[in-house]
Symmetry: C2
Subunit: 199 residues, 2 copies
Amino acid sequence: MARTPAPGTRRRILTAASKLFSEQGVRAVGMQQVIDETGVGKSLLYREFAGKDELVAAWIRASDEEWWKTAREVTDPYQGDPVRQILALLGFFYDSVRSPDFHGCIYYNTSSEFRDPEHPGRKESVRHLRRLRDWLRDLGVLAGATDAEDMADALMLVVGGLLNNGEVLGGDGPARMALPTTELVLRQYCPTAVSAASA
Amino acid sequence: MARTPAPGTRRRILTAASKLFSEQGVRAVGMQQVIDETGVGKSLLYREFAGKDELVAAWIRASDEEWWKTAREVTDPYQGDPVRQILALLGFFYDSVRSPDFHGCIYYNTSSEFRDPEHPGRKESVRHLRRLRDWLRDLGVLAGATDAEDMADALMLVVGGLLNNGEVLGGDGPARMALPTTELVLRQYCPTAVSAASA
DNA sequence: GTCTATAGTGCGATAGAC
DNA sequence: GTCTATCGCACTATAGAC
């Protein structure tokens, strides 16, 4: 009889691609390296993904899904307290940046590697960052922010600064100031809610 | 006697390389494109620059020099008023990001494209960002900041967020909040100096 | 395996300054 | 015409997409 398709092939490829792409950058990694790392055959890889661009997009999409899962786990304990949820989220970013596996934010990095707005990997990356910004705005509304749009954009400044300086300047650099600066922003836009959360 | 060497060849190559690299990213641009854009011969290009890595490093170095020149022009009118100098500098960043020629910060982008700490282009990029951070710290000291190191790192968060979100999220996005957030940080670390500057 | 692209090398032809 | 800077092309080798 015919051999049954091995389960989880797609996942194995994505895991290997994720390691290589995030550590070295997408353009620095060839498809051959992905193949070598997985042990999968070339034909199987190309049956699973139409091309490199599609592999990149699938990697970003999978990372995005996993990220939201973790982000919700991190903020769920503070359900009903949006200010603490924001602080928990920024704390999660901070921990990620300080982790030894951190090699820069894949969404910012992939956007910078592919400037064509039509590139599937860029599209997915931009989509992720937009959703993050919108989530921060929604939390701001829940927190009764005086201006939730402004607050979300100010927080994206902190997030962008945290994620992009981490790999470049030392570990004791700007990252250290991410939480204090977040509190500064929160105090500006939700003074009453922050006092309550500090209590 | 002999033909005279054309002056400014190096500069012409750097100008073309700058356009291509900053618009499309370094790895997306081949040496042939640089050659086509300048009309220069391959042999001349390789006599002027040992290889692509060296061209990239030279481009970053030239951009860095030009940047400092402009940055000083922007802050010089506020000589003796470091708080206003910082605000002018952030205003300059803001204007750059909103300019139609902005295609992302070349220092952050090049760092993200080349992860090898030994890559000459990365080295120059990191050096630029470190010098910027140190300048902000020095201005913080002059402004009598309660903690100039913390303030510089907090401001680098704003700078990093501003420069890295600009190309990704819309023009009306986080960039808009860069100056208000800078003021927030300044007020936190130099309350008296900011009041004086606002007066 | 195949085809393309890219970094880098080298040489002959050409274009100018004298 | 002579001399040299520089171009343009051919070439190799390597790597990458598929």
